[in-house]
Amino acid sequence: MADLIIIGSGPAGLSAGITAAECGLSVLILDEYLKPGGRLLGQLYEEPGGKWWNGIEETRKLEKRAAALDLDIRLGTAVSNIEKEDGLWHVYTDRETFTAPSLLLATGAAESPVAIPGWTLPGVMSVGAAQVMTNVHRVKPGSRGVIIGVSVLSSAIAMELNIAGIDVAAIALPKMNEVNKDGANPAGVMDSLLHVSHMAPSKFVQFGSKLMQNDFMKKLGITFYPKGGVKMWGIPVMLRKAVIEICGTEQVEGVILATVTTNGQVVPGSEQRIDADFVCIAGGLYPLAELIGLTGCPFHHIDELGGYVPLHNEQMETPVDGLYVAGNITGIEGAKVAMSQGVAAALSIARNFGRQGLDDILREAVEYVGETRRKAHIQFHPEVAEGRRKMQQYWEEYEAAQERIAPEEPVVEKEVLQGV
């Protein structure tokens, strides 16, 4: 039996596994995908200063360190359930059931779809799927695509498709309805792009950020934003056009674009059809909480972190005994933050296992997470630091409440919830 099971071999899980093994723990890493690296694998972009961030290279570095430590990584192993019994975690997979006293969940993020008529046609995929096909499997998702959803992520992936020689006809907003709210509002989208623009890895999101510093200029900016879009690497980025329908009978054949007002209402008569054989949906990322949702760990919905996030502290501990989190499951951020969180989590686990002399490096590791966040080139939400502050506050409130209930035992072990 391992001391620690890590679910997820993305940057967070791999970094945690390496650090935990260096502390002398026996570690088992499980991942359902056929390669280690998680979402790191697909990443490829130029950082300000001209250095390229190549996720395949970064994964290789982690894999080498893992191999040197003889880490046990089981790929193609999907975890379908976790339960705690008599102080041991039981991890059910499609292969076998594993047990360990400590469990680190590093399951990353999932992508949200958008609701546009035709979104269920073959040939419609998430931007992440297009990224994995192109950068990891080296398969073109199609010959001419349209990306729906304007964000740092979608502009980065548009550029990656462009590098691979795939024609991207347009990046446009989704149409406004009860599902696609924030992402369909031109003024709101522009505002959030401008907030992250100074550090963004793409020229598009850096555009005009100096010009747009006050609200008046922003309003003017979106009012006069060219209807034909602003070109980025030859791809029109359309903040004043929305895809109102994806067309095709057996598969994607094109999309219908329409001009929208500054608050996202379609201007009648402005519809135009453009041809495409694939469509990518960028509806945003949210922490993938399905496994931790089975443990009874409390949650908080924090917009700045991307949705429902399990309660945790800066040492990556949850209130559930022996349960830890790291990476995008704690909030949507870049790969470097995920790695630093993985290291902090592993040090916490080793310390709680009774390894001596780790207090100082754990404190440094926690500080390093904050530093990495401040220096991050890629930011998914402009107020992520505020989201982190909220989580820390919820943690403190939780601890104070527990102390009122049981002064000598601040962290109460939660019973595992059984299915209804």
Binding site: S80, N81, D94, S112, E178, E290, L291, G293, H301
Partner: protein, 90 residues
């Protein structure tokens, strides 16, 4: 195709129109919307439509920020019938 006929939950074939109408009629939260329409209760366990169902419910109710309204249930991945016996030994 109109928004009304657009499928939101593919597994249970629940449309946008059905979700919006049900939410408006009952003013229900995401869990109730799921139970009334079966959206998110199919084969994939709501992996794809969860956020869309949640978004529709949030147009008529306050979000419960301390609880995942659309609760997660094991198994979170499809499992073979043969393996199912090994899960949850009540």
């Amino acid at each position: 195709m109109t928004d009304k006929d657009m499928i939101i939950c593919r597994c249970e074939e629940v449309t946008y129109g059905e979700l919006v109408e049900t939410a408006n009629e009952y003013g229900c939260n995401a869990r109730e919307l799921k139970l009334r329409t079966r959206a998110g209760m199919g084969y994939c366990g709501g992996r794809t439509c969860r956020n869309m169902v949640d978004a529709v419910a949030c147009t008529v109710t306050e979000r419960d920020s301390k609880q995942v309204t659309l609760k997660y249930q094991p198994p979170v991945r499809p499992v073979h019938f043969g393996d199912l016996g090994a899960i949850g030994h009540d």
